[in-house]
């Protein structure tokens, strides 16, 4: 018996929404087996991992704090991937945005005005967009593979951050710790409520809705989808492919940069050697889990945020590695892609080669 894929006469609408759910289900089941193999009660472990984070107000706030950057970056990447533009350097653009935005409080430490915050956010977005423009321009001008260049720039951005934080931007009164001055007042994002939820969450929601409108209602959105589906058709329609590449890169870069400065001016409150626990890479999974739909990305972002929180909870309560979160995330993307096949194909078991011979 061998596995055979039979093409469906049309794509299955049910599977469009069912396949991510199926992928999630399989991930949880495999996760249960992994927990069991570690000698844990799989049901208790899964409860602590996936349900517990949603049972207290504190952890729900924490969930929003972690989901905000994932959604913000994820929607940008979703647009890129729709256009078949492969920006996988969001982590670097996030770092650059954080650096650009932090320049204001670091150089004008005593300046306090609402303008400071606005300027920081704008600079953050600009920093990310400019950094993302590099792979786009290299692709357009020289045909250099954007996957490789955007990824190489992640390492470069992180080394630049490392340099400024240990060199020129180090807090002079910071006992030689590699960190900048602490941001204060208008240099920080306003909090929503008592907890740690900050303005970034609202910005992420706005970004998702705006991009959803753009993709569904504007010519630009149409252009992106056509070029993603069929570059030739796009060319015949007179759409400028290079412009779309640059647009997608700079848009997603700006959002990643915004997420970066929101991390620094939000939860962390100062520039540190490590800004994000890999949000830029996890956002790739968010984009795919959300089926490249900005609204879908919101839910996907929340789900992946649970995997971060659950990872922390499992580490504390079960004593298992915090790497479990990364394993879950990687597995999830793998299974999302595998289950996506069901949209276009039906899986059947067919008699193998041996059986044919007998007949």
């Amino acid at each position: 018996m061998i596995l055979v894929l039979e093409k469906r006469s049309r794509r299955s609408q049910a599977m469009v929404w069912l396949s991510p759910v199926l992928a999630l289900g399989i991930t949880v089941v495999i996760g249960g087996f992994i927990f069991a193999s570690l000698g844990l009660d799989p049901f208790k472990a899964l409860y602590i991992y996936f349900i517990d984070p949603m049972t207290s107000l504190w952890s729900i706030e924490e969930l929003i704090v972690k989901a905000a950057p994932l959604v913000m970056i994820g929607v940008g990447l979703a647009i890129c991937y729709t256009a078949n533009v492969w920006n996988i350097g969001a982590e670097g653009q996030l770092t650059m945005g954080a650096l650009f935005g932090s320049a204001i409080p670091i150089y004008f430490t005593d300046w306090q005005s609402p303008l400071v915050l606005v300027l920081m956010l704008v600079l953050g977005a600009i920093g990310g967009a400019l950094f993302a423009a590099i792979p786009a321009l290299l692709k357009n001008r020289f045909g250099a593979n954007e996957i490789l260049t955007s990824l190489m720039l992640v390492y470069v951005a992180q080394l630049i951050l490392d340099w400024v934080i240990r060199g020129p931007w180090k807090d002079p009164k910071g006992f030689n710790f590699p960190q900048s001055v602490s941001f204060e007042g208008w240099q920080l994002l306003p909090l929503l409520g008592e907890g740690r939820v900050h303005l970034g969450a609202v910005l992420a929601l706005i970004a998702a809705v705006l991009l959803w409108v753009m993709m569904g209602r504007s010519l630009r959105g149409f252009e992106i989808r056509v070029i993603g589906n069929s570059p030739r058709a796009g060319a015949f329609a007179g759409f400028a492919q290079k412009k779309v590449v640059l647009f997608c890169f700079m848009l997603s870069g700006a959002l990643a940069g915004l997420a970066g400065i929101c991390e620094v001016a939000g939860p962390s409150g100062q520039l540190q050697p490590v800004i994000s626990p890999g949000y830029g890479f996890t956002a790739i999974i968010v984009a795919f889990l959300g089926r490249l739909n900005p609204i879908g990305v919101i839910f996907a972002g929340i789900l992946l945020a649970i995997s971060y929180l659950g990872g922390e909870a499992a580490q504390v309560e079960l004593g298992i590695s915090d790497k479990m979160a990364q394993v879950f995330q990687g597995m999830l993307l793998f299974l999302i892609l595998a289950c996506e096949t069901l949209i276009h194909y039906r899986i059947k078991l067919a008699p193998g080669r041996g059986a044919v011979k007998e007949a």
Partner: protein, 306 residues
């Protein structure tokens, strides 16, 4: 040991993992498949190689385990992209993310433990010759292995029937299929070969380059290997030169620092990544060079008609 000798030796150790990973990917891409999971396969090779060597006290078993880990990861990729026809770019990315996570979890218990070093082969008399001995005859099995694999790949690709089949499958899978070749089987094989080489590259890192396990110790080498394949324009000969050039750049930073030149260390550390970008620009800008050997079907899924 003289200074020149030391420099040459470190260049060889820095180049070998790049060469191993890149030659495997070259074969994979020749068959028309783009596997972006090199980094993930490599890091799994590194952690499994280290773990096996540590538990069995045998570096050679470690090398074997690294190879198998790479093959295992690549077969996951092959099943998804070939059998389930998923997007190669996205699947490769997810292989890298999965590999980085899994390796971190497997390796957690091995962090900071003393490693088992893959010893240099001691060739009687030859290894004792001054200068030439250590530089040419003083390496471990993987260094020679990598050169042997490159030569072997060049031979198979250009001098054998199998090489022609691989090139045909990568160049036009519909024609290859019509001629009666099993496209999927050829691709499965080439993907597994790429995985084996990436696994060896990882094992080299954790058993010879720095004989210990450090999280994320591949630090982008898998991605640089991918760039190297583009840089080589899919020719093993050029790949060999490219890998050694990149290896040289990789360790140049260390020497400049050791000389006491006042440059931020971070700038030196970012050199390999910047050089990779520059190399990609130069080679991609040259259309005549890239067009000739680029496998025409690269990245495209193949659905056999029944």
């Amino acid at each position: 040991m003289g200074a020149l000798e030391a420099v040459i030796l470190t260049i060889i150790t820095a180049s070998t993992p790049l060469l191993l990973a890149a030659i495997g990917e070259l074969v994979t891409e020749r068959s028309g498949v783009l596997n972006l999971g090199v980094e993930g396969m490599m890091i799994m090779g590194a952690v499994c190689g280290f773990a096996a060597a540590y538990t069995t006290h045998s570096a050679l078993l470690g090398v074997g385990a690294g190879l198998l880990a790479g093959v295992g990861m690549s077969l996951l990729f092959a099943f998804l992209t070939q059998t389930l026809m998923t997007s190669q770019v996205a699947t490769g990315l997810s292989l890298t993310l999965l590999g980085l996570g899994l390796s971190g979890m497997i390796g957690e218990g091995f962090t900071g433990l003393p490693g088992i070093k893959l010893e240099a082969l001691n060739i009687p008399f030859l290894s004792d010759i001054p200068f030439i001995g250590p530089v040419i005859f003083g390496h471990d099995i993987l260094v020679y292995g990598s050169l042997f694999i490159v030569a072997g790949v060049a031979y198979v690709l250009f001098r054998t029937r199998l090489g022609l089949i691989i090139t045909a499958v990568g160049g036009n899978h519909h024609s290859a299929h019509a001629l009666g070749y099993n496209v999927l089987r050829v691709r499965y094989g080439c993907i597994a070969f790429g995985g084996a080489c990436s696994g060896l590259a990882g094992a080299y890192l954790s058993l010879a380059y720095t004989p210990q396990w450090i999280e994320n110790m591949s630090s982008g080498r898998g991605w640089i290997a991918l760039a190297l394949v583009v840089f080589s324009t899919w020719l093993p000969k050029r790949l060999l030169v490219g890998a050694y050039l990149f290896g040289t750049v990789w360790i140049m930073g260390l020497y400049v620092q050791a000389l006491g030149v006042d440059i931020p260390s971070q700038l030196l550390s970012s050199l390999p990544y910047l050089v990779t970008i520059v190399a990609l620009i130069i080679i991609s800008g040259n259309k005549t060079l890239t067009k000739v050997n680029t496998p025409a079907c690269i990245g495209q899924p193949f659905a056999p008609e029944r």
